[in-house]
């Protein structure tokens, strides 16, 4: 640091290390000026969050204590909506269906996506092409997926049963037999496995080759290398995929609504296709029970929150983050 000795008499008598450190005017000024813009650039997100997320959430919490049909003014009803929710068999069935679907869908999509990602990793130069091909279905609009799978899963004329018949299996009535409706929806959900596959593929690329080689030199088998090297190294991605797929599963709506509720002959699959958000939507916009629908929404929010917190808590035992001690 340079000290100018002739500015004051006192300065001259002090050794340089005792001199008060002078600010670095140019650099700090630049940082200060940049800092001033931080709130400005954050403002769009903050305003968007407050207006389109936090605001509606608070509003729905307030509405959940009212009887509100959207047109008339809301009337305060205390905990009536929550009491009704506690005794609503349909809501319970819808939640049961949703949890059942989630329990099937999430593990299946994780296994399939990881399997595909590992296969892609072995393809070398061709992996880019196949990565794109596998990801493309994820870009299909949910409504189109619903319509497509209504045809594919048709018990009489669908392609899926036609394929099963080739290997001698008499396929079920996926869209009309209540016992097979949810498995059919799980099958449909694999159409969008590409999104999770891309996440895993990126994570697999980051697994250090030297670790694999070291394990191989130590005589580890393929399964041991996968179990003890690959899985720990991608455990962060596994956790992320599990959490987002769980949340998405619990909020499943568009595909199921299109398949089973979009036409006049609604809910032909009986209760089997009654998913929670579909039930919530119908309460809000078909029957105009907006207060009750708000209570339903808050219950779903709490269920998602609890499941996510449990997942994050458990993750501390299983997830490895690079840089951690």
């Amino acid at each position: 640091m340079t000290v100018t000795a002739h500015r004051t008499g006192d300065d001259r008598t002090l050794p340089a290390r005792h001199q008060p450190e002078r600010p670095r005017p140019r650099r700090q000024s630049l940082q200060a000026r940049e800092n001033r813009w931080v709130p400005v650039f954050l403002a769009p997100w903050i305003i968007g969050f407050l207006v389109f997320t936090a605001g509606p959430m608070v509003a729905s919490l307030v509405l959940s204590f009212t009887s509100y049909d959207v047109i008339s003014s809301p009337e305060y009803v205390g905990l009536d909506n929550y009491e009704q929710l506690a005794t609503d068999d349909q809501a319970l069935r819808a939640m049961g269906n949703t949890l059942f679907y989630t329990a099937l869908h999430v593990p299946l999509v994780i296994v399939c996506a990881l399997g595909l990602a590992m296969l892609l990793q072995r393809l070398g130069r061709m992996s880019g092409l196949f990565r794109t091909l596998f990801y493309l279905p994820s870009m299909t609009p949910p409504v189109a997926i619903g319509v497509l799978f209504l045809l594919l899963l048709n018990g009489q004329t669908g392609l899926i049963n036609a394929a099963l018949s080739v290997v001698g299996i008499d396929g079920p009535d996926w869209t009309t037999d209540p016992a097979w409706v949810k498995p059919g929806i799980v099958l449909m959900s694999l159409w969008s496995v590409g999104t999770t596959m891309v996440i895993f593929f990126a994570a697999l690329q980051d697994v250090p080759v030297e670790l694999q080689e070291a394990a191989e030199l130590d005589g580890a088998s393929g399964w041991q290398r996968f179990r003890n090297v690959t899985l720990p190294m991608i455990s962060g991605a596994l956790l992320f995929a599990t959490v987002i797929n769980t949340i998405a599963s619990l909020q499943l709506f568009a595909e199921v609504y299109t398949m089973f509720f979009g036409q006049q002959d609604a809910s032909v699959a009986g209760d089997a296709a009654q998913f929670y958000v579909v039930y919530l939507f119908e309460q809000a916009f078909k029957f105009l029970h907006m207060g009750y629908a708000s209570a339903l929404a808050w219950l779903l929010f709490l269920v998602i929150l609890v499941i996510t917190l449990v997942q994050l808590r458990l993750s501390k035992r299983f997830v490895y983050y690079e840089g951690q001690q």
Binding site: V40, A43, I71, G155, D170, T176, S267, F287
Partner: protein, 458 residues
């Protein structure tokens, strides 16, 4: 680093974009430039008029809209095309920015009227001179709640019995034996006409069109699902239970719901290989507009038509359709009223039918007429505009439908119309899925529907 001006510009543009992206939907434009309010003279509406729930899909729609534009050049009409969607409609009404006129299914209109989302149209009718006497009374009943009119009907879709004569010939069944009067006979017909191939259905003999046609079968048995005033559910009436037992029995006879529904879902309903052209169905009650589909895509199908009759042998049919209404808070109700009057007026309907007939002639497809809900218009359309197509099956079918018009019934307007329909739909599905008997399912539906009616009436 960005200059101060540029940074502010970027941030400002982003904020502006956020605000602008919040616009849109079905509502009217409340900016001063929009000109809502309709001018000072109610007889000469002006300003901007927005509609929702209506589409300009064919000559029937475009001709009538053009007639309005010609009659009211001072009105700037904006037709927000697309089917009625409750979500944006309710949001628009709640935010005080609704469309000026809305087009919706008559069956759900009572739900919105009871909650105050729609304006009574009695003043509109009186001031604009809408000739209510021209309309079919069951259609008017469907849009009348507590003696106030909330909608002006249009279209009158009735159900008639369509018969695949090829299937009858193959099974050696005489067409005189095909009737909905004798329910035991229907079961025999199901057995005679249903065919399987490789363990799968290849032809469904009699399709009762469940769940949606339960009201028709109940009426054929002498029962209504709801009382005339729409305030009492009658879903557990023994005659309704009997109708559900018989119709679900027909489905069971054909192999069960899973099989039948999956088979039905595979039909090319609107295409050349539809269920009649492909010999996939024997007898089925269907909406009259389907005759137009058949005439268009497969005019040579082996088709016969008979009226749907009750167990007393008298014709009975179920009518549905749409209605125009004016939402609460509409900014230009005067123009909306003029628009509704013009579109549902006898002369406008006749002009639209002429345009449709001309278009059909140009395309060399038969025109099967338009059942408007306006009886006076129907008389001219079927008496003067519609020429025999030369296709005997289609011409006979049109005559059957025309003869059935006076035997149609409608579901009454109810403040809980959606809940009632949902209740009996669920009951039918429970029975079809084998989860409940007709009696159990309809008893549960009765409780649910009545509770919804009582709650809506509070």
């Amino acid at each position: 680093m960005l200059s101060t001006t540029r940074a502010l510009g970027v941030a400002g543009s982003t904020l502006l974009a956020l605000v602008l992206t919040g616009c849109g939907g079905v509502g009217g434009d409340d900016s001063p430039a929009a000109g809502g309010g309709g001018g000072d003279d109610p007889a000469k509406p002006s300003g901007r008029l927005t509609t929702s729930g209506f589409g300009l899909g064919d000559e029937i729609a475009t001709t009538r809209v053009d007639a309005f534009k010609e009659a009211y050049p001072d009105v700037q009409l904006k037709v927000n095309e697309g089917a009625f969607d409750p979500q944006p409609f309710l949001s628009a009404v709640a935010s005080g920015n609704p469309p000026d006129a809305v087009y919706m299914d008559r069956e759900v209109l009572g739900t919105y009227a009871a909650r105050g989302a729609l304006q009574p149209l009695d003043d509109c009718v009186d001031e604009s001179g809408i000739a209510l006497d021209d309309f079919r009374q069951p259609a008017l009943d469907q849009v009348t709640l507590d003696d106030a009119l909330y909608g002006v009907p249009e279209f009158y879709d009735i159900r008639t019995l369509l018969i695949n004569t090829k299937a009858l010939d193959e099974a050696g069944v005489d067409i005189d034996q095909v009737t909905t009067e004798d329910w035991d006979r229907l079961s025999t017909l199901q057995e005679d006409l249903t065919e399987e191939s490789g363990g799968k259905l290849s032809r469904l003999g009699v399709d009762p069109k469940l769940p949606e046609f339960l009201p028709l079968w109940a009426k054929a048995n002498g029962a209504d699902l709801v009382s005339e005033d729409g305030r009492t559910a009658q879903l557990d009436d023994p005659k309704v239970v009997e109708a559900l037992e018989m119709t679900t029995g027909l489905i069971e006879d054909a192999g069960g719901w899973g099989k039948v529904k999956a088979f039905r879902d595979g039909w090319d309903f609107f295409g050349e290989k539809n269920q009649f052209a492909s010999d996939q169905v024997g007898v089925v009650p269907l909406e009259d507009w389907y005759l137009g589909v058949l005439a268009d895509v497969s005019p040579d199908v082996p088709l016969a038509t008979k009226p749907f009759v009750g167990r007393d042998g008298e014709p009975v049919t179920f009518a549905t359709g749409n209605a125009w209404a004016i939402p609460k808070g509409a900014k230009n109700p005067g123009a909306a009223c003029a628009f509704i009057k013009t579109l549902t007026d006898k002369d406008t309907w006749v002009e639209a039918a002429k345009a449709k007939a001309a278009a059909a002639e140009k395309d060399k497809t038969p025109y099967t007429g338009t059942f408007t809900g306006n009886e006076a218009a129907d008389e001219v359309i079927f008496g003067e505009v519609l020429d025999p197509s030369g296709n005997q099956a289609i011409d006979d079918a049109v005559q059957v439908v025309l003869d059935e018009q006076d035997s149609a019934f409608t579901t009454p307007a109810s403040p809980a119309a959606s809940e009632i329909k949902d209740a009996w739909f669920e009951a039918v599905n429970q029975v079809l899925a084998g989860k409940a008997s007709p009696q159990e399912a309809l008893s549960a539906a009765q409780d649910k529907a009545q509770a919804a009616i009582d709650k809506a009436a509070e």
